[in-house]
């Protein structure tokens, strides 16, 4: 089996991640921050240590500004719904996943003005187009770091400069890039960063987070969920302390332990090395697919401007048939359709049919890619 659906979720997970998850449930299974006994403290320590590792990983100095959520979608909802108020203006790109588009459409109904900056058909965004849409009431710009459909990287640092000049905030969805591109929020000018654990951070599903830059005043962010935090229990009001203000309810301890192990595993493996490996695989995929005249590849076709996510269609054939036969006849696992990103498919011109998406990961070998391309050739020629 050749798993080329890493952009949906990474698989397999490193054994160290699975071990950390079983270890924590066996040996540190108390409720963190609720009781004062050793199991509760052991659990709280694992969560705090992971918070520290995440803050270092993304380049913020205060670990308490790492807010754990269920996934990137949850983190994006927290940021958007916590900050935007009726009358505010928000800008996004036309390459967004529904994790961004749907909360924005929902907020639009509550009196928030939404502008969508059109991207080019290869998924690229001209930062100046954001500048042209900025107005005096622009509160926030939200954008994906790299498209989950075609892998195109968006110019985050350039957009950040424009956004900050206008006195607005920048929220970036790094679901696809965290773990494969070295990232420093401060250097990139990101005010709020939404990540998920289960993709290239190698963690299990069900854990993600919102990282709030050191200079952001948290008073301007309302919690998405209120409830028990184990702190200030005498009060029926939600506390203002970080991270408790945004983290009500018992945490996903096993997920957080897995996330910590995933980060340590990535550090050992080296993100620069992973990045270089994926560029090689991406080049192979683009070159291999380009040899078939009936195949149309979307995106920049340039591994220097994209992550290793390659989308294609075959003239006269449905993507569902290609995906099914790749799985059934050759054990090549892809994802076909709209990838929860109708706006992105409209931008690249593949709506409503969608594309076949191939996304290799850190465990994918060059031999896997060679075999996958041979399989694709056989499927499209028969």
């Amino acid at each position: 089996m050749i798993y080329l659906d890493q952009a949906a979720t990474s698989w397999p997970k490193p054994p160290e991640v699975l071990k950390a998850m079983t270890d924590v449930l066996e040996n540190a299974g108390g409720n963190p921050g609720r009781s004062g006994h050793r199991l509760s403290i052991a659990a709280a320590r694992i969560i705090y240590d992971t918070r520290e590792e995440i803050s270092r990983f993304f380049g913020v100095s205060d670990p308490l500004r790492v807010i754990f959520t269920g996934n990137a979608t949850h983190a994006i909802n927290l940021a958007l719904k916590g900050i935007l108020k009726p009358g505010d203006h928000v800008i996004t790109s036309s390459m967004e996943h529904n994790a961004v588009m749907r909360p924005l459409r929902n907020l639009e109904k509550r009196g928030i003005r939404l502008s969508i900056v059109p991207c080019a058909s290869n998924g690229t965004l001209d930062a100046k187009d954001i500048g042209r849409m900025v107005a005096s009431d622009t509160r926030l710009v939200v954008m994906v770091h790299a498209s989950n459909v075609v892998g195109t990287l968006l110019p985050v640092a350039e957009v950040a400069a424009i956004v900050h000049q206008a006195g607005a905030l920048l929220l970036v969805d790094v679901a696809q890039t965290a773990g494969i591109i070295p990232m420093d929020m401060t250097a990139m000018g990101i005010d709020l960063l939404a990540f998920t654990g289960h993709k290239e951070l190698q963690a299990p599903p069900g854990i993600g987070g919102l990282v709030i830059a050191d200079h952001i005043d948290i008073a301007q962010i309302d919690p998405l969920i209120c409830g028990g935090t184990g702190s200030r229990s005498e009060s029926e009001e939600q506390p203002d302390d970080l991270p408790d203000k945004f983290e009500s309810g018992t945490a996903n301890l096993a997920g957080i332990a897995g996330l910590g192990a995933g980060l340590r595993w990535l550090k050992d493996r080296g993100i620069e090395e992973i990045c270089a490996h994926l560029k090689t695989l991406s080049r192979m995929l683009i070159d291999g697919l380009s040899a078939f005249p009936e195949v149309k590849i979307y995106g920049t076709l340039d591994p220097a401007r994209s992550i290793a996510v390659v989308s294609f269609t075959v003239a006269g054939r449905h993507v569902s048939e290609i995906g099914f036969r790749l799985d059934e006849e050759y054990g090549v696992l892809s994802r076909v359709g709209l990838h929860c990103a109708p706006a992105a498919h409209k931008t690249i011109g593949s709506f409503p049919e969608g594309t076949v998406r191939l996304a290799p990961g850190v465990f994918t070998t060059t031999e896997d890619i060679r075999l996958a391309i041979r399989a694709i050739g056989r499927v499209i020629r028969s």
Partner: protein, 78 residues
């Protein structure tokens, strides 16, 4: 006989952050359940040797560490 003091915090994350810092400085400290006589919070607190009281409080002040309160525990373990 050791006399103890206890530092109360608003969040578990803050306790753990300060615990790490104090261990690094070589203080003999221990996490204990928050003594009920001082707070209704359900979490943990940081117990220290009362002899270190001044050094610890000045360090917390210098580093602008947020905490809820510091109490003298006497010789009670918690």
């Amino acid at each position: 006989m050791t006399l103890y003091g206890v530092i109360l915090f608003h969040t578990t994350s803050s306790v753990l952050r300060v615990e790490k810092r104090l261990i690094k400085e070589g203080f003999a400290i221990r996490l204990v359940p928050t003594p009920r006589q001082f707070s209704s919070d359900c979490g943990i607190a940081l117990r220290f040797d009362w002899n270190d009281h001044e050094r610890i409080t000045s360090m917390l002040g210098e580093e602008k560490v947020e905490f809820a309160a510091i109490h003298f525990l006497d010789a009670n373990p918690v």
